[in-house]
Amino acid sequence: MSQQIWGNPQRWDAAEWQSEATWADRFMYIDPYFWSYFGVALALATSIIGASWGIFVTGVSLLGSTVKAPRIRSKNLISVIFCEAVAIYGVIMAIIMIGKIGPIEDIPTEQNGINVCYTYALYCGYSLFWTGVSVGLSNLICGIAVGVTGSGCAISDAQTPETFVKILVVEIFGSALGLFGVIVGIIQCSGATFPKVCPSA
């Protein structure tokens, strides 16, 4: 029963959807579960794209500079580890968000009850989607920032060892961007647990 009413509370058939539904209706009846699961995928995939971008930008410079200054190899791997941490932020957020998604067991039968239930589920879905966007894009940018800084760090360390620690401070500031994204994301999805039982009207 829930499948047929969910997203079709007026119980329109296909012809009625064609003639009566506005674009707003069609947008509103995009399944909330789609929004939430797509947010999970966005959070994870964009974070990992950011981490990988950072790793290759740093890695190339590190490997190139190590040819003439082999002593820098082990110290500068810390830049790569900072980029990996960005990916781990994405994994943590994805797992938190997956925990918020769950089936709704009991959908009421009368129209008002269905609307209240659907509205609450839409709120959860939209919240998780935009959490995914904010976390994912922050981590994407953080990964690139840490990667570019790490690249400069390796090159300058190869020439002047004293600069390593100072540029590491810049990298730490860059890595804080991802952390901001995670903090905001956790707050953003904090109230977005899908209800097991629909709230009463």
Binding site: Q3, Y37, I48, S52, I55, G59, I81, V91, P103
Partner: protein, 155 residues
């Protein structure tokens, strides 16, 4: 409950998009990793042919990404066929996208780092360990995507 309601047809549509994206994007990443590193090996091997077999490691690591995509694709296609709700269809879409795009990103990274690494390794032997460490970090990215995909496929 008397009869289970079948899921809407869109559940299968999105589920199979997940299957396809897992395989396609993972293979894209794997091929980019293999070709970019391979070109580096070919350039480097002209002057240092003894190092060629050691330098094939980035190519092997890139190949593993294709296997991750295949694993997730096979697991998901079995589940999509028995999909019982729209929610599951979207979960399988998300699982496929997570694995595929993570493997794509990891493949990009493995390719570019592998290319630079094998060329640098030819000039300085101490670089080998550093190159392997960076490649392992890049490979781990695909593993994270695989783990989250497998968690999502359990819904």
């Amino acid at each position: 409950m008397s009869d289970p309601i079948p899921p809407p047809d869109s559940a299968y549509f999105f589920g199979y998009i997940g299957v396809a994206s897992a395989v396609v994007f993972a293979n894209l990443g794997s091929s980019y990793g293999a070709t970019k590193s391979g070109v580096g090996i070919c350039s480097m091997g002209v002057l240092k042919p003894d190092l060629i077999m050691k330098s094939v490691i980035p190519v092997v690591m890139a190949g593993i990404l294709g296997i991750y995509g295949m694993i997730v694709g096979v697991i998901l296609q079995g589940k999509v066929a028995n999909c019982s709700s729209a929610q599951q269809g979207y979960a399988y879409l998300s699982a496929g996208l997570c694995c595929g795009l993570s493997s794509l990103a990891a493949g990009l990274s493995i390719g570019i780092v592998g290319d630079a690494g094998v060329r640098a390794n030819a000039q300085q032997d101490r670089i080998f360990v550093g190159m392997i460490l960076i490649l392992i970090f890049a490979e781990a990215l695909a593993l994270y995507g695989l783990i989250v995909s497998l968690i999502l496929s359990q819904t």
